[in-house]
Symmetry: C2
Subunit: 307 residues, 2 copies
Amino acid sequence: MSLTVVGSIAFDAVKTPFGERERMLGGAAVHFSLAASFFTEVRPVGPVGDDFGPEQFEVLEKRGVLCDDIERVPGGRSFFWRGRYEYDLNVAHTEDTQLGVFAEFEPKLSPASQEADTLFLANIQPDLQRQVRAQCGSARLSGLDSMNLWIETAKDSLTAAIAEVDCLVVNDAEIRMLTGESNLARAARAVMAMGPRAVIAKQGEYGAALFTEGGFFALPGFPLEDVRDPTGAGDSFAGGFFGYLDGVEGELDDAELRRAMGYGTVLASFNVEEFGTERVSRLTREEIDERFEQLRSMTQFEGRVAS
Amino acid sequence: MSLTVVGSIAFDAVKTPFGERERMLGGAAVHFSLAASFFTEVRPVGPVGDDFGPEQFEVLEKRGVLCDDIERVPGGRSFFWRGRYEYDLNVAHTEDTQLGVFAEFEPKLSPASQEADTLFLANIQPDLQRQVRAQCGSARLSGLDSMNLWIETAKDSLTAAIAEVDCLVVNDAEIRMLTGESNLARAARAVMAMGPRAVIAKQGEYGAALFTEGGFFALPGFPLEDVRDPTGAGDSFAGGFFGYLDGVEGELDDAELRRAMGYGTVLASFNVEEFGTERVSRLTREEIDERFEQLRSMTQFEGRVAS
C-alpha cells in the first residue's frame, strides 16, 4: 500500500487571535502527508526552493514520509502564503501568496510514486493535476481538491480533472459554485454525473458530508475548546481520509468510507489545536484511535425501544 | 403528559426562489405545536386578531392541538411577518414585521396550560417569557428560544429568563453573541454556567449540536434535494425535540435527549419541504419514524474490526 500526493510544500505566515508564526512549515501536501503517515507510506510530490532545509525535511521524515519526490530547485524560493484569521476563526484573509518555484512546476514522478495505490491531487492548477493523474494509471483510489480560483479561471480543465478521479473533496460552497446548484444534495449528484463516485463537502467547523451512490453520511467537526490555527484542517482531513483507505485491504465500500470520514475528522481536529504542523508532528496513533472512538460516541443514537 | 408553548401565532408572507405565499399560517408557536402534536398534547399560548379565523384554527385542531389558550383579541390584527430568501436559502431578509395584537400581549395561562409537564418559551420578549415561566411552576422540562434582537436590547432580562429554564435552543451565532465567546464549545459551557443543563445550537442546513454536562452530540440536517421554504424549521425542530421528550416516561437522560435531537431534525426536514405548515399538516407518524431510521443510518459508523 502506498499513497502519492501532489500539492504545495510551503512556508506559511499565520496570525490568529491566539498567536502568530512568521515562517512555519505548511502547504497542502505537507499537512496531507503528515496526517496520512499514521496509516500508510506517503510520497509527497512538489517543488521547494533553497530555503527549504533539513529542519523542514526532518518534520516529514520523522513521521516516515518519503521525500524523494520533493524536487529541490536550485536558486528558487518555496511557495509562501500569508494569512490572517478573525476572532471568528471561520473568517480567513489571504494577505500574500508567492508562488516561487511553483510557478514553473512540471510534475515528474518517480516510478515509486507512479505506482501508488492511492493518489491525491491537492489544490493546484487543474492541468498540473491532470499531468500527475496521467502518470499514476494504476491507482485503486484517486481524489482531488480544488478552490474557487480554478472554478473561475480554469473551469473546463478542472471539470476534465474531476472526471478522472474517484472522489472530489472540496468546500461545500465550491460544490455549489462548480455546479451552479445551490442545493447541496443536488450539487453533489451533479458532480457524480461528471465522473466521481464519491463527493465530500468540507464544511469547516460543522464537519463534513459524504455523498455516494449508496447514500449520505455526515460527521460534525470534533468539538474543541481550544482552536488556535485552522490552516491545513481540510488537507489534514483529506490525509486522514485517504491515508486510512489506502491501508484497507478489502473493498472500499460505504462502511470503509464512513470510517475514513471519522479518521479525517480526527486528524483535522488535532491539526487545528496548534499552529501549522506542531500538533500533528508529535501525535500518536493511540491518540488518534482514542479520539476516533470519542467521535463515534458523540454521533451515535438509538431508536426508541418498543414499549 | 402535556406541553405548553408560548410564542407568535401569525400570518407569514414568504417569497423563495421556489414560489411565494402572500398570507399563510405561521409563527413560532404554530410550527412548534404542529411538530410536537405527533408526540403529545400541546397547548399554544398567544394572541391573535379578528383576521385569525376557522380556517387557521382548523389546521391546528386537525392535528389535535388544543387551542383554548389562543387569545382572540376583538378588533386586533394578528402578528404579521414578511420575508424573502435568496437563491442560497441560508440567506433570509425580513421585509416587514407587524406586531399587531402582540404589542399588548399579557400572557394569562389557563390552569391546564399552567400544569404542563413541559414548557417551551418560543422567541418573544424575554420579560414575557419570564411571566409565562412563573406561571408554570411544575414543569418537568423547560426550554427557551431567543434571537439577536433581545441579546442587543434586553440582555439582562434574557439572561434572567435563561437562568430559569433547563434547555436553551438558539442559533449558534446567537450563543456566541450572548456569551461574547467565539468558540462554540466554550460558549455553550458559559450558557450552562447561567443555569440550563442543556444547550442546543441550531446550525441551519448543517443541523444541530447538543451540549450537556455529559458531553456533546451533533446531527446533520437531513439531506433534501427539494427545500422550498425554510421558515419555521427551527421551531419545528424544537417542537419535535420537546414533543418527543414530553412523551418520555422515564428519566430524561442523554440517550433520550439524543433521540429527541433526531426527532427534531426529522420534523424540521419535513417542514422545509413545502411552504409554511403545508407539509407538516398532512404528515403521519409513520413517515416521521421512517425518516428517523434513515437519519440514524446516515450518521452511524463502526470502528475498525481488529485484524
